[in-house]
Amino acid sequence: MQASIYVADDEPALLNAIVKRLSKGQHKVRAFKSGDELLAAVEQDIPDLVLVDMKMPGKTGIETLAALRAKSRDVVVILLTAYGTVEEAVEAMKLGAYDFIIKTVDLQLVEPVVNRALEHALRRQVADVAKDKADH
């Protein structure tokens, strides 16, 4: 399935790598250099999934997550975190993030986690639709 994914990271090389890797999976991926830029784009169009780096200039990953939650309850958020700051990511999950990805050199974990999250979102949409129908 093709999903709309927004990625925010202040590190261009990493951002590029993630975008390219996810684009290969036919996802529609947009890259942002900061949380603020990502939030501005969300004003126009709400994506299916958002990948946010924890540590960025301007809004941090947590702040961006909070702002996203204020706009949409449905958008799936995955946090990107460096090795050694896992505790913060776990904390973020308590605030509504779906999962976190430790940024490893080969980014091998990105695709599986994203795919699993999308499946999860889909299942939830289907359940919601079924529920809506049942309600009507």
């Binding site: 590190e11 990493l14 590029n16 790598a17 993630i18 050694g84 050199v105 080969d106």
Partner: protein, 642 residues
């Protein structure tokens, strides 16, 4: 009456009593003497009268004889008519007159009257003779012869003799009376002597009795009262109601006894309070001694430079038997040879100046153990001593000293770690950039593309760099402990599983003997696991590929008086050279391990120390290395290490 007299007598002063008492027999003696004198006078009077009677008798006899002489003389004259023969008559007459005169004087009234009668006879006797003499001279001798023949003179003499007999009879009676009187007087003298003596004796007895009653008996009673109360140190003295010295004495003694009793009571009270004070003092001293003896610091005293006292702990600090007496020489010998001169000179300077001093030195024990001691010596005043008295305190600061060293090392490492972590963070992002890009690139190549291997090298090296960076971050990150109780043998089994691949590859066996100990540890399981993985991984690395054995043992062991477990991981590897051994725990120190970062052992040390444990290595080249890890059984305080 008697009592009144006795009372009056008792009230007299003793001197007056004695004078009075001695006067009584004296007076009676004088009286007796007077009486005897009178009696003796009577006797002498009687004697005199008796004598007089004798004299009278004698005189009358003489008188009679003279009359005879006169008669005889007259007759002779008558016969011879010679005038010379008349001289005896004349002499006798003359004597007769003298005696007559004498008798007149001696005789009393009645007798004198009788004497006159005798004189009449005598005068007739004489007158007749003288008339006859004149007749003879006138030549009428016949008359005289007639006279003689008739014996007229003899008749007169006979008359006189009758008179004399009467007088004699009277005088005899008188003498007899005198004798009777004298006898009576003698008897009365004897009676006076005897009676006076007895009376005086009685009076003296009475006087002595009075003295005894008045002086001696009260004194004896007093002494009995004082002596009788053996049980009581100070008896009650009975006061005599008298005004003399004895009464005064009893009052004084009673007052004295009262005062003595009061003083005794005071002394007893003082003794009691002294006893209490002594007890308190003893208790205080015992407390003080207990305090000093059991104080966990060394306490000692010196007189000048000379050690005079050392408490138990000070002996212990010096590594000496606290139960043995202090030996200043042995104690001094325990001071580290490098410190001894400095300690001596510093202290002697302080003693000379009379000021306190503080120094740090080391005690070396017989077993080679070294204790670092902070010693403070303070002069104390209040002692009468020519040399100043110092009280000294020795505190074992070995742990503090070690901690300080460790802390400074830790601070150094922490600073290093923070710098390294900052660099690592900065490095990570570009590393991830390189790696992820290389990874993407790798995906773009066909599997047969020869450039693929080169890109793979980029990726692998990036991964290695990433691992180093991650370890630096791991080393430097704040280490909170997630404490839990777990079984050590289970953990070791987990570690063996993790490392099973490496173990099998080198045919190495692990022999763990932990059964003897209660191997429950209270620690952060993951962190201890990390340590064990690291240490055993190193052991595997050092072991030859010949199927050697890595031995793991765990024993209960007290360390710094704290219960804990010591784990020993011993390999039979090549060993570590002695010059390298001290640097093993330094960060980034590597002994040329194939994939080492030089941080493994440093991280292990961090973890163990954050558990208040201890890790050290012993190694012998060619024989193997033993890593010893001591962990306390409990974690009283959580130390968060940066």
């Amino acid at each position: 009456m008697y009592k009144r007299i006795a009372g009056l007598f008792n009230n007299l002063p003793i001197l007056h009593k004695l004078l009075l008492i001695s006067t009584i027999p004296l007076v009676s003696l004088i009286l007796a003497s007077v009486l005897i004198y009178i009696k003796v006078q009577n006797i002498s009077h009687d004697e005199e009268r008796l004598n007089n009677t004798y004299l009278i008798q004698e005189a009358t006899a003489q008188y009679m004889k003279l009359m005879v002489d006169m008669e005889t003389g007259f007759r002779g004259y008558v016969l011879t008519e010679d005038a010379r023969d008349f001289t005896p008559y004349q002499n006798a007459l003359k004597n007769l007159r003298e005696i007559e005169h004498n008798l007149e004087k001696r005789l009393s009234g009645d007798q004198q009257q009788k004497l006159k009668d005798a004189e009449v006879i005598v005068n007739r006797f004489v007158t007749e003779k003288e008339e006859l003499v004149r007749d003879i001279q006138a030549g009428r001798k016949s008359l005289a012869i007639q006279y003689i023949k008739e014996g007229r003179g003899r008749v007169l003499m006979s008359d006189f003799r009758d008179w004399m007999a009467q007088l004699e009879k009277f005088e005899q009676q008188s003498a007899s009376d005198e004798f009777a009187q004298m006898s009576l007087d003698r008897t009365s003298v004897l009676l006076a002597i005897l009676g006076g003596g007895l009376f005086t004796f009685g009076l003296m007895i009475g006087a002595l009795f009075l003295i005894a009653r008045s002086i001696a008996i009260p004194l004896a009673n007093l002494s009995k009262a004082v002596g009788a109360s053996t049980g009581e140190l100070c008896p009650v003295i009975p006061v005599l109601d008298r005004k003399d010295e004895i009464g005064g004495l009893t009052r004084v003694m009673r007052e004295m006894s009262h005062q003595v009793r009061e003083h005794l009571d005071h002394v007893v009270r003082s003794e009691a309070s002294l006893r209490i004070l002594n007890q308190e003092l003893a208790a205080s001293e015992s407390r003080y001694r207990g305090l000093v003896d059991h104080a966990p610091i060394g306490i000692f005293m010196t007189k000048g430079m000379q050690l005079t006292f050392s408490n138990r702990h000070n002996q212990v600090l010096a590594g000496l038997d606290p139960d043995k007496p202090i030996d200043p020489v042995t104690l001094r010998a325990r001071i580290h040879s490098e410190d001894l001169d400095r300690v001596t000179s510093d202290f002697s300077r302080a003693v000379a100046a009379g000021r306190q001093c503080e120094m740090i030195f080391r005690f070396v024990h017989a077993d080679g153990g070294v204790l670092t001691i902070l010693s403070r010596r303070v002069p104390i005043s209040g002692f009468d001593s020519p040399a100043p008295i110092y009280v000294g305190f020795n505190i074992d600061i070995t742990a503090l000293h070690t901690l300080q060293l460790r802390l400074s090392r830790t601070e150094k490492l922490a600073t290093l770690g923070q710098v390294a972590a900052g660099i690592a963070h900065e490095l990570r992002n570009p590393l991830v950039g390189i790696g992820s890009t290389a990874s993407l690139l790798l995906d773009d190549f066909e599997p047969s593309d020869p450039r693929r291997a080169e890109v793979d090298v980029i990726l692998q090296e990036t991964k290695r760099l990433d691992r180093i960076v991650n370890q630096i971050v791991d080393y430097a990150k704040p280490r909170g402990l997630a404490l839990d109780r777990f079984v050590l043998s289970d953990l070791i089994n987990d570690v063996i599983k993790v490392l099973s691949g490496q173990l099998e590859a080198k045919h190495i066996k692990i022999r763990a003997s932990l059964s003897a100990v209660d191997d429950h540890l209270y620690a952060d399981r993951d962190q201890i696991k990390q340590v064990l993985i690291n240490v055993i991984d190193n052991a595997i690395d050092a072991s030859p590929m010949d199927g050697s054995v890595i031995e793991i043992t765990a024993n209960e062991l007290f360390h710094h008086e704290q219960p804990g477990i010591t784990m020993r991981i011993r390999d039979a590897g090549k060993g570590i050279p002695p010059e390298v051994l001290p640097r093993i725990f330094e960060p980034f120190f590597t002994s040329g391990k194939r994939h080492g970062t030089g941080l493994g052992m440093a991280i292990c040390k961090n973890i163990i120390e954050s558990h208040h444990g201890d890790i050290h290595l012993t190694s012998e080249v060619g024989t193997g290395t033993t890593v010893s890890i001591w962990m306390p059984l409990s974690q009283d305080t959580q130390l968060v290490k940066g």
